[in-house]
Symmetry: C2
Subunit: 302 residues, 2 copies
């Protein structure tokens, strides 16, 4: 049995996978704040999901953790997980010490890419285009994560695409993230609604001119991200995930339409067949937890 955790800013999801890669149990807990609370919460989530699967720790082969921030690939240390109140945490070493099990740690978007690839039954190459607060893509080639030379493969959110665009949190101007992310929605559609993106799409559907314009900007940004992945790493499949993917077909359909529109005036773009290469991450699955469980076990299970 393998355990995967997805430690998010508010919730921690845990899944237990059996030896064939099927989900045997899952639990969800509130994430604590600060390194000690995050560590204790991770340990508790592992113990809870193992118990729910009717197993004991001795049945577990390995634990994988997906977490925001910068991960040291060798040590499994986490840095700059700002939303979790973690400046630095030796997560792999300390969680492994508490559980007596091997623990692999990976950036949450990269873990989710691996999980999405597995959940969708893909082969070849794919990218998870994660539309969270920020924008980043995790890349999987032949069932394995592709990190690049310095771990910044797929960091397309910080590629500028408009010299006249908005200032980005990274210090540059007009980055893709400023028009295709949760923070882009927050900036362009100031709202007190619980789900600003849903309100935006509802208003646009109702014919609100300003909402239609903001939605067009957002959809165009997502379509530009798809095109950028196809013309740089050239993955076969681009999976849209992250918080905004909860919009489902309401986002997928206009993104595919934008890509098809662009292809009308460019035979080159048309030859890439982009609309047919976009998939949505299924709603209600924790791709990052599943991907975390698969870390280090990719040849066995995928």
């Amino acid at each position: 049995m393998r355990i995967g955790l997805d430690i998010g800013g508010t919730k921690t999801d845990a899944v237990a996978l059996d030896r064939t890669g099927r989900e045997a149990a899952r639990v969800r807990r509130t994430t604590g704040f600060g390194p000690d609370a995050v560590l204790a919460g991770a340990e508790a989530a592992v113990r809870a999901v193992v118990a729910r699967a009717g197993a004991v720790l001795a049945d577990v082969d390995a634990v994988g953790v997906g977490i925001p921030g910068v991960i040291d690939e060798e040590s499994g240390d986490v840095r700059h997980a700002v939303n979790l109140g973690v400046a630095e945490l030796a997560l792999s070493t300390r969680l492994s010490g508490r559980l007596g099990l091997p623990v692999t740690v990976e950036n949450d978007v990269k873990a989710a890419a691996l999980g999405a690839y597995h959940l969708l039954g893909l082969s070849g190459s794919a990218a998870l285009l994660n539309l969270g607060t920020g924008l980043a893509a995790g890349i999987v080639v032949d069932g394995r994560l592709w990190r690049g030379a310095r771990g910044s493969a797929g960091e397309i959110g910080h590629i500028p695409i408009d010299p006249g665009g908005a200032a980005c949190s990274c210090g540059q101007v007009g980055c893709l993230e400023t028009v295709a992310s949760g923070s882009a929605v927050t900036r362009l559609w100031q709202s007190t609604a619980a789900l600003p993106a849903v309100e935006l799409f509802d208003r646009a559907d109702a014919g609100d001119g300003r909402a239609v314009e903001v939605r067009r900007t957002l959809v165009g940004g997502v379509a530009a991200a798809v095109r950028m992945l196809a013309l740089s790493v050239d993955v076969e499949t681009i999976i849209i995930g992250g918080g905004l993917s909860g919009l489902g077909e309401r986002l997928a359909v206009p993104v595919a339409e934008a890509l098809a529109d662009w292809a009308v005036s460019s035979a080159f773009l048309a030859s890439l067949e982009l609309p047919s290469r976009v998939r949505m991450l299924p709603i209600g699955v924790s791709a990052a937890a599943v991907g975390a469980a698969l870390l280090g076990a990719q040849t066995e299970l995928v």
Copy 2:
């Protein structure tokens, strides 16, 4: 012995490499126009370079060809090599038939990427950013070409970076190629000089305000291409090649300066250490011919 050809719009370069990967001989011939002339010229170039190496065809293990256009990876057929007057040519099959040797055909930029990687003695990952008439990058990972799912990995020239930019030949607007390529120089600096880019840089050095501005646009476009490769495929080394790389340090120095300037206002960009990751392709070598010779022999020689 392995033979590599680089069939360009005006010249065909041929090299012979010995079993250790060292150059044993080279020849240069004028390229013919149309499929039959291209094929006959390729055959003649192979025979000439073998003779110059003091060898016979029976000493040759394999022939590789780098050629512009779209290459069918399986058949070795060439399509859309417009500058050569070739709509379609079964180059691999026909050249192999004439020589009695195995012939592998690859796009010239991809072949040049492999050759540059070998000539610079690199390891890990690298991209050749080819600033020819157009802009495209060839990508090498661990000594092997990375083509992507559909052969469009590294086609960053057709990623739009400015909604207010110029129309691109591909049918889109504001593509990177419109500011960072030989055709960008032609458009921005209309000139009758034999080497418009050299004239542009000379005039900019002499203080011509318009030339300074065009040079700044070009240098910024090349720096943007470097950043884009680092944030998408994340290769360790970016090698600047193609016709414009003949400018040497006159181009390399301001590109590194632009990257360093951007890093001042972005700690994120600074962390990528881009200026130190840029190399220039040495002048006077036919990287595409050397790379073509290495096609299919990468595990032996690199």
